[in-house]
Amino acid sequence: MSVKSKSIQNKSKDERLRKVSNLKVLLNRPELGALGGSVLVFIFFGIVAGDTGMFSAYGTINFLEVSANLGIIAIAAALLMIGGEFDLSVGSMIGFAGICIAIPAIYWGWPLWSSILFAFSMAVLVGYANGILVVRTGLPSFIVTLAMLFILRGATLALTRLITGRTQVPGLRVLIENDPIAWIFSADAFKGVFTWLGSLGLIALRQDGTPLATGIPASVLWWVGMTIFATWLLMKTRYGNWIFASGGDKLGARNVGVPVGRVKISLFIGTAVAATIYACVQVLDAGSADTMRGFLKELEAIVAAVVGGCLLTGGYGSAIGAAFGALIFGTVSMGIYYTDVDTDWFKVFLGAMMLIAVIFNNFIRRRVTENK
């Protein structure tokens, strides 16, 4: 069943070259482990929670939403990790961006769309700060962004209390109605399809006849879109090659003319912007901002990226893998609530499944790269 690999002509005489099937070539990719892990997780929950409603339309959207939110920051974290750096300030940026959206809109009377744009411009500034500090000082990004984690979280709390006297800023839901931008982050897509499925009785209905699941949430579309964009960026553009080079051999890359500094700074801006997208989705969904939002999310993003095949040391990985890593995380986080496991054991369960997913991922990658 083997098919000639993508080698150039007149290689058939090379005794070192076997006819490698296209399947094996595919298996060689970093995503495979994460894909395998996802399949494993779905099979597991299919057995354990198959008829509990986890895979109903409403249940599926529930865990997809969690996956999507994580996926948005995981993809950016993966790109940065491939480029050889970490951003531990992502979680704090989520909180900070949240109040950048909420405070101007509620306390200063700004239209929501301009608050959102304000939040994105702050993201660019924070990302640039992270990047320039790492590049200029040569300090490990772990340390620099850890400091930024504290600075941002503290600033979020201090500024919010200063301006509002509280740690929460509610009241945003009403502002979403007529805003030109807000819907990009909060609307449901394919509403019509779901209504139609509901009318056919294929998905659960509310008592008034409308479907329980109203549509695909915007965050899921952002997740898919970002995955496609990031993959194109990595594989098909010059900039993508520079990302691999900067992570694989910083000095060597610089020596052949790759603008490593600029690449890293732009990647840090990427993670800050991704955090802001996450914050937009969350703030508009909850209708409020809170100074503690996003706590520890940067670690989850890194785990998703690693499960997705990104090497912690940089230079290798994939955005699709990180997207699957986020899917695994989201499915497991929500899936456990469908099982009989006492939620006291929740953290143990989550950690164990993550470990299994990573080991499985590693196993597949080793098996394939060593078994050529």
Binding site: I47, A49, G59, Q207, A286, D290, M292, M334
Partner: protein, 306 residues
């Protein structure tokens, strides 16, 4: 390599068998994590009730106080099509959408502990908990019966609606003159502030046991006024319980979170059988812990029931 592979598969299958679930009757979505001593008592209430009522329940809570995550847990619960959902309602604005979706899907919801103001307008059937104002009234009445005429209500977080209501209720139930003393939440500062006011009062009510209760107790003791000034507090702490057993504290107002966990389950069990549902608020407090029953309460608290 094969062996590891097979072991992994065997382990996963075992895991799968042991956690495979059966139809769930009631899902509790609370903002209180089970590792919090207050909430672990409530969870014990839930677990006991499920056993006693012979139905299947689940207690879930987000990892941190995160309303977004809690809303997702409510959605998660709805997708499992339980017979009923119990929630706490600390933030009606953030949780409203998910609660309304649950009710629209035909799943009745009962709230507990927080949200006594908002539960009705979301369509929640009943609320089980302690309403702050009424609890304050109860405390005021008890202090009045003990002969108090001039009181101090120590509020360590003015602006927190629940706490403000406690003092307001107390004022109503007490009848005599009540001064509201606003403080920070620093125990030393609270102690000093209370000490300064000891001269003009014969009754003090604090709104938190571990923080302001114990600070006020220290102030009274250092001034040697134990016995001549009556001290009561909302909520419980080991220190205040001990003081009550020793007769130094008039009463602790216990909101009895064990009942907040137990009763909603019992309510749903009956709803499932006969369609009955209480209307409005079922009060679990004020429960008074006094020198008479303090030692028993201490014993039960150690077992996780108070």
């Amino acid at each position: 390599m094969r062996k590891i592979y097979l072991t992994l598969v065997a382990f996963l299958s075992w895991m799968a068998m042991s956690v495979a679930s059966f139809a769930i009757d009631v899902i509790v979505v609370s903002h209180g994590q089970a590792n919090d001593p207050f909430w672990s008592v409530a969870k014990n209430g839930v677990d006991s009730a499920c056993k006693d009522m012979k139905i299947k329940c689940k207690y879930t809570a987000p990892g941190t106080f995160d309303m977004v995550e809690m809303a997702k847990l409510i959605d998660n619960a709805v997708s499992q099509k339980p017979k009923g959902i119990v929630i706490t309602l600390p933030d009606a604005a953030a949780l409203g959408k998910s609660v309304k979706a649950a009710i629209a899907a035909g799943i009745p919801v009962v709230s507990m502990n927080s949200g006594s103001d908002d539960f009705a307008k979301l369509g929640i059937s009943a609320h089980v908990g302690q309403t702050e104002f009424e609890a304050g009234v109860g405390g005021g009445q008890k202090m009045k019966a003990a002969g108090g005429k001039k009181a101090l209500c120590v509020n360590h977080e003015v602006g927190n609606v629940a706490l403000d209501r406690r003092c307001a209720g107390f004022k109503k139930g007490f009848g005599g003159s009540v001064e509201i003393l606003g403080t920070s939440n620093d125990p030393t500062e609270i102690q000093k502030a209370v000490a300064a006011k000891l001269g003009g009062v014969d009754t003090i009510l604090t709104l938190g046991a571990g923080l302001s209760g114990e600070a006020a107790l220290k102030a009274i003791k250092s001034a040697g006024k134990t016995g001549s000034i009556k001290l009561g507090t909302f909520d419980m702490s080991p220190g205040m319980l001990k003081a009550a057993a020793a007769g130094e504290v008039e009463f602790l107002i216990d909101q009895q979170q064990y009942l907040q966990g137990y009763l909603p389950i019992a309510i749903f069990a009956q709803y499932m059988r006969w369609g009955t549902m209480p209307a409005g608020v079922v009060m679990t407090g004020p429960g008074f812990v006094t020198p008479q029953n303090a030692s028993k309460v201490i014993k039960w608290a150690a077992q996780g029931y108070r």
